[in-house]
């Protein structure tokens, strides 16, 4: 198989693009997709400080590397979830990356903020571990960005993540979730920072290939709690569709973003207020994070 740009031997075939690339041309293709995402959704400018949420996995470290290479001002944020060896190893990957690239890394421990690590939160709440974990991560990303003066948080969500989320929302007709799905969420309140997903145009396989080819030392093993998650099942279904019909995931997500999402936008905006306890933004009186912390405190 030959590279469609230079004709040399290809290292990766992208069936959805009916293309194959050699290593240098794939790297350029990848970065072009990130540039296009940032430009199209006006995610951030070179003058802005970007907080990059990193997990030690392929997506977030690939994102961080591209943004550094593109000359953006980045700081990493690693949220230590306290999930046994997985967290120890993923944190080490992030620290190693930050040191090698000479970029700052902020480490915040969920256990210190919530009162217990994710495995204990799971037991206390009797909810799936991803529930309290995701809530804590979204809250802490925003709060850390606000406290440290970052106007924007970038996450490593890729096309597969976004397509799987969309699939889940459609399967349950979560019409309130559909308009929130976007490559860029604006800061609609003084205490909400912008949230952007510069990898949303790139598939999981493409981010993995980029991380591998760029010799990024990422954690291949995934979180032990992820096994059996519904989103994994959705990704498997979508991968089978993609196999039968290259471009299916891309068309599903981009068709939604371009043509369907606007139809789900609410006429009346949800009233946002500040949590009576912590001052962060919520739709209620006390935010879900504070309620979770209370629940953990009572039980431990």
């Amino acid at each position: 198989m030959k590279c469609r740009k230079c004709g040399r031997g290809a290292v990766i075939e992208l069936r959805r693009h009916n293309a194959a690339f050699c290593e240098p041309d794939f790297v350029e293709f990848f970065r072009n997709q990130v540039r296009e995402a940032i430009r199209k959704h006006r995610m951030f400018t070179p003058e802005e400080a970007v907080l990059v949420a990193v997990s030690g996995g392929k997506d977030s470290l690939a994102l961080w590397e591209v943004l550094i290479e593109e000359g953006y001002q980045t700081t990493g944020l690693y949220l230590d979830l306290g999930i046994f060896d997985y967290s120890i190893e993923s944190k080490a990957r992030c620290e190693k990356f930050a040191t090698a690239h000479g970029v700052p890394l902020i480490v915040t421990a969920v256990a210190e903020e919530v009162g217990a690590p994710v495995p204990i939160i799971k037991t206390v709440t009797r909810r799936p571990p991803c529930s309290g974990c995701g809530l804590s991560k979204r809250y802490l990303m925003n709060r850390v960005a606000l406290e440290r003066g970052f106007p924007v948080v970038a996450t490593g969500h890729n096309l597969d993540d976004e397509a799987a989320t969309l699939f889940g929302s459609v399967m349950h007709w979560q019409t309130d979730a559909l308009p929130r799905q976007s490559p860029a969420l604006a800061a609609t309140h003084p205490k909400l920072v912008r949230r952007v997903k510069p990898l949303y145009r790139l598939s999981e396989r493409e981010t993995a290939a980029y991380a591998f080819l760029r010799r990024i030392d990422y954690i291949v093993e995934e979180c032990p709690f992820a096994a059996g998650a519904t989103s994994i099942a959705h990704k498997e279904i979508l991968s089978r569709m993609e196999e039968a019909s290259p471009g299916a995931k891309h068309n599903f997500l981009f068709g939604f973003l371009d043509r369907a999402r606007a139809a789900f936008e609410r006429v009346e905006a949800v009233a946002l207020q500040e949590c009576a306890r912590c001052g962060q933004v919520t739709t209620g009186t006390v935010c879900a994070f504070c309620k979770l912390a209370d629940q953990v405190k009572r039980a431990t």
């Binding site: 198989m1 290292v11 990766i12 069936r15 009916n18 293309a19 199209k40 959704h41 006006r42 997990s55 996995g57 392929k58 997506d59 977030s60 999930i83 909810r127 799936p128 991803c130 529930s131 995701g134 809530l135 979204r138 969500h157 597969d160 993540d161 989320t165 889940g168 929302s169 979730a177 969420l185 604006a186 909400l192 396989r205 993995a208 291949v220 093993e221 995934e222 709690f225 992820a226 096994a227 059996g228 519904t230 989103s231 994994i232 990704k235 498997e236 991968s239 089978r240 290259p246 891309h250 068709g255 973003l257 371009d258 609410r266 905006a269 949800v270 933004v281 919520t282 739709t283 879900a288």
Partner: protein, 126 residues
């Protein structure tokens, strides 16, 4: 030839002298779900592998689950709306339970720069 699989890491022996896609087919692995690594580079599905080769089939999916008989079944019982790591989907509150108000609820969506088509793929995927 030797094939290294991940999550959990293990090895299997299969016949070489054929294309990568034939090896994947035998192992019932969807090509889209793995990187095929030989040495320090990636190989495409049409490339030949020999009996002396060692290739790693590295899952690309967060969660590491690869469909196929070479994979153990994921544990059940922890089904949830949200993934750990990079795939942060929205949590799905259990029925009848008060939903946690999330940061980011009710945000208006920024519009992409005007006048642009989007979602176009490079190349002719026809």
């Amino acid at each position: 030839m030797k094939v290294i699989l991940r999550n959990p890491k293990r090895e299997v022996q299969v016949a070489g002298g054929r294309r990568v896609k034939d090896v994947l087919r035998e192992l019932e692995i969807i090509p889209e779900t793995v990187l095929v690594i030989r040495g320090d580079t990636l190989v495409t599905a049409d490339q030949m592998v020999t009996d002396d080769d060692t290739i790693e089939l590295r899952p690309v999916m967060s969660g590491g689950s690869v469909s196929g008989r070479a994979q153990p079944q994921p544990a059940t019982g922890e089904a949830s709306g949200e993934m750990i790591g990079d795939g942060r989907a929205q949590p799905q509150p259990a029925a009848g339970e008060a939903s946690g108000e999330m940061i980011g609820d009710g945000r208006a969506q920024p519009q992409p720069a005007a006048g642009e088509a989007s979602g176009e793929m490079i190349g002719d995927a026809s």
